[in-house]
Symmetry: C2
Subunit: 143 residues, 2 copies
């Protein structure tokens, strides 16, 4: 528990989205965001607030999953850009945002936390295909 942690942590208490993949270290969920269908989170299972609170091996294992999520989103959606972020100012429990961005989305080229630039163009992602892509990528040695 650290100074930013309230007694109840929503990422300790709930999955945090639609589960796509998981192991003993972390889980990948699909965020239910109408504007950002290709928005995954990679959430550490235990409550730790900073990446440097983890040892190097654990950090590498977690980043491997983050990069697999990036790769899966690129394969399925061909986004203009991938955005990766670990912020945690509101929920200080390590979690990575992995977001497929498009030139016609709601905030592009700003961050999704910035100013709205336009009404976003609706898009969909095939969840099952995303699950399969993640599964496949994370079975490989080199992701």
């Amino acid at each position: 528990m650290n100074k930013l942690t309230v007694a109840a942590c929503e990422l300790c208490d709930s999955v945090g989205g639609q589960a796509l993949w998981q192991d003993e270290l972390c889980r990948v969920v699909l965020v239910e965001d109408r504007d950002y269908p290709g928005f995954c989170r990679v959430i550490l299972n235990r409550h730790v607030s900073e990446m440097t609170d983890l040892d190097q091996t654990t950090r590498q294992r977690l980043m491997r999953v983050v990069f697999a999520a990036e790769q899966a989103l690129r394969q399925l959606m061909q986004p203009a850009k991938i955005n990766l972020a670990s912020l945690g100012n509101q929920v200080a429990h390590v979690h990575w945002h992995v977001i497929a961005r498009f030139a016609d989305d709601k905030h592009f080229p700003g961050s999704i936390w910035g100013e709205v630039r336009r009404e976003g163009v609706p898009r969909r992602v095939d969840r099952d295909a995303l699950r399969r892509a993640l599964q496949q990528l994370l079975q490989l040695e080199e992701v």
Copy 2:
């Protein structure tokens, strides 16, 4: 070169801030942001737009530097939170933002790309101490 890259890339053409550390892969610079004195960028030296355009070993080497920057900022500034992000929607050349956040800064607990919440409290960072901390951390095997 990809579809988001314009002929001139500002991270190919300039250092991108005050150099703190560098090797053949990447450089760490201090961003000159009055509101965020503890704001570093880790910039890949070559022009690549996504982390998954790099091989696993190169990604790990780059993340090691990102985490060293996080650790150095934590040691020197004791921030409430570290924010890490690789966005690149405007400059599609891999670079990581590593930002020391404080409860009384301009946007906390939002992201620095979001709504202004207050006038930030002025703070300073000792650049030479930051340089030394990075140097020291990156000499170690385990960062």
